[in-house]
Symmetry: C2
DNA sequence: CCGCTAATGGTAACGTGTTTCATTATTTCT
DNA sequence: AGAAATAATGAAACACGTTACCATTAGCGG
């Protein structure tokens, strides 16, 4: 069967949200993005921002991480699994290579587990924020 | 000044919560633990469960991970940092050795970051749950 | 242009977790 | 032991991020 296309309509909001997210190099929350859109004069509902952000994440067009109970998003072209080095202060993120997947599988297997997924994020302070934090 | 001891009182609830957590080999949520205590006839407020669980985590006597917006706790004697292999189905967890810390520091340094902490958890299905899931 | 219906958006509802504050109970002091 | 001092408790209120509801708007194919 050919791809059973989902009936998806292209709306102004969807485009706005997508492009707004793409101009961010940092991880941003739905609320932050919503606020930015408001500031830019765009009228987009918060619910829509959440919807689209989740849709992007689901479709593999955005990465998400959770910091302090809040889900953050970041545009991301590559679908494949990857990890981040995230600045806790400004949200700047760098994609990094994962640790050995073999090692993980081995550890899991030796405990009778079958891996479904894993979470690996390194948090720290980027050079700029370190400088800013220095009194 | 010598260590300014915190005036902490030993209460029945505190002991109950602590011992209940210690009998669990799985990660449990505050709510789950609260419910279990209720079922056992103990009368403990949910707020207290949260307080004590957080106190234990803060004191290094419990580990916490977050799955699906929910914070889970697990008793843990060792204070030092470690990671888990967690069954997504039943919550059973196995402590595992961390990946090379040197590697992380190196990756961070090459991007100008200074590591504050990292998150690394492997999720999967344990042997029992795999068996149970087989139709 | 018309009709179908996906998408929107304001708001209410939800779930998790924290805070408030009056009450309870442990510890200390005498 | 009894009383005073004050941690700790617990029920309810609150804070916050996120989702559900649903009437309205607006793509898109005919």
């Amino acid at each position: 069967m050919a791809a059973p296309q989902k009936k998806t309509r292209s709306t102004a909001q969807k485009a706005l949200i997508r492009s707004a997210l793409e101009t961010e190099t940092r991880f941003v929350s739905a609320k932050q993005l919503h606020r930015r859109l408001e500031d830019e004069g765009a009228s987009v509902g918060l619910a829509t921002v959440y919807r689209q952000l989740n849709a992007l994440a689901r479709g593999g067009d955005a990465d998400t991480i959770t910091i302090a109970e809040t889900q953050l998003f970041r545009a991301c072209s590559q679908t494949e699994h990857h990890h981040h080095l995230v600045c806790e202060r400004c949200g700047t993120a760098v994609e990094i290579d994962p640790p050995s997947e073999d090692w993980m599988r081995q550890v899991a297997a030796s405990n009778g587990f079958e891996i479904t997924h894993h979470v690996f994020e390194i948090f720290g302070l980027c050079a700029d924020c370190r400088a800013a934090a220095t009194d």
